[in-house]
Symmetry: none
Subunit: 80 residues, 4 copies
């Protein structure tokens, strides 16, 4: 029964299990993050503000990456 309707069942199962394992780990991390927020809230911080700050910091680093990408493109264009 290695093939059903032309599908390599074992291979498929293997891929799916790898993905499921990784998603479990991902969910665990999501849980950890929630805990940290919760802990911060307990320490008197405002979760909403924290999320906003983190978002802003991420935006800034995205800005920097984007700027670098543009410079790269320019360099390549001038070099070519």
């Amino acid at each position: 029964m290695a093939e059903v309707g032309g599908v390599a069942v074992d291979r498929l199962r293997s891929f799916i299990e790898r993905i499921e394992r990784l998603e479990e780990e991902k969910q665990a991390l999501a849980g950890d993050i929630r805990e940290v927020y919760s802990e911060a809230k307990g320490a008197g911080f405002d979760i909403k503000v924290m999320r906003q700050l983190i978002k802003l910091r991420k935006m800034d680093s995205d800005d920097r990456s984007q700027m670098e990408a543009i410079l790269d493109t320019y360099e390549r264009a001038l070099g070519g």
Copy 2:
């Protein structure tokens, strides 16, 4: 036939047609945008760079909005 299975058919149809009309207009604008890019390309500009520039400008304005949101939140928190 104003109701089928408890569904107000005419009302539903009306909503759907409004949405479809708006989406048509949206698609028309997407077409306009593509034309401008195309025109710019014809004038010798690099579309990829243009997209990057526009993205960066948008990020900057998002940054500003986000910063304002944080200040708002702080103000509300301090005022409360």
Copy 3:
């Protein structure tokens, strides 16, 4: 800096501003669409099902056998 690369900078700026203007309008329409969905939701319709209906209507001459999927969804929606 109006003269870097000849008059190109001004030309580029003009293209970019045209695009940004068009994208603003596009976003405004997206907002209008969201509002209609919201209104429909308030009138008791199932937004998810509406989206599928609209998608189907767009297919038209395309593979209409997907209608089965919509019907299934309806059944589920009506049954729930």
Copy 4:
């Protein structure tokens, strides 16, 4: 500025950095998952169908009548 609001700023920074670190790890896992899908695609599997399978397996005791939808999709996939 370490003393604004007492020691609070440093405490806040610590929480935020913990969260950012965890989110980085989460993103890394998301990347791993994408790679597995990509590998599966290279092996000839249909990613869209795989996603649905995984979704179904997660439901388990939940409304399993959705299995019909998956089966429909399979039929369509096998037919195409």
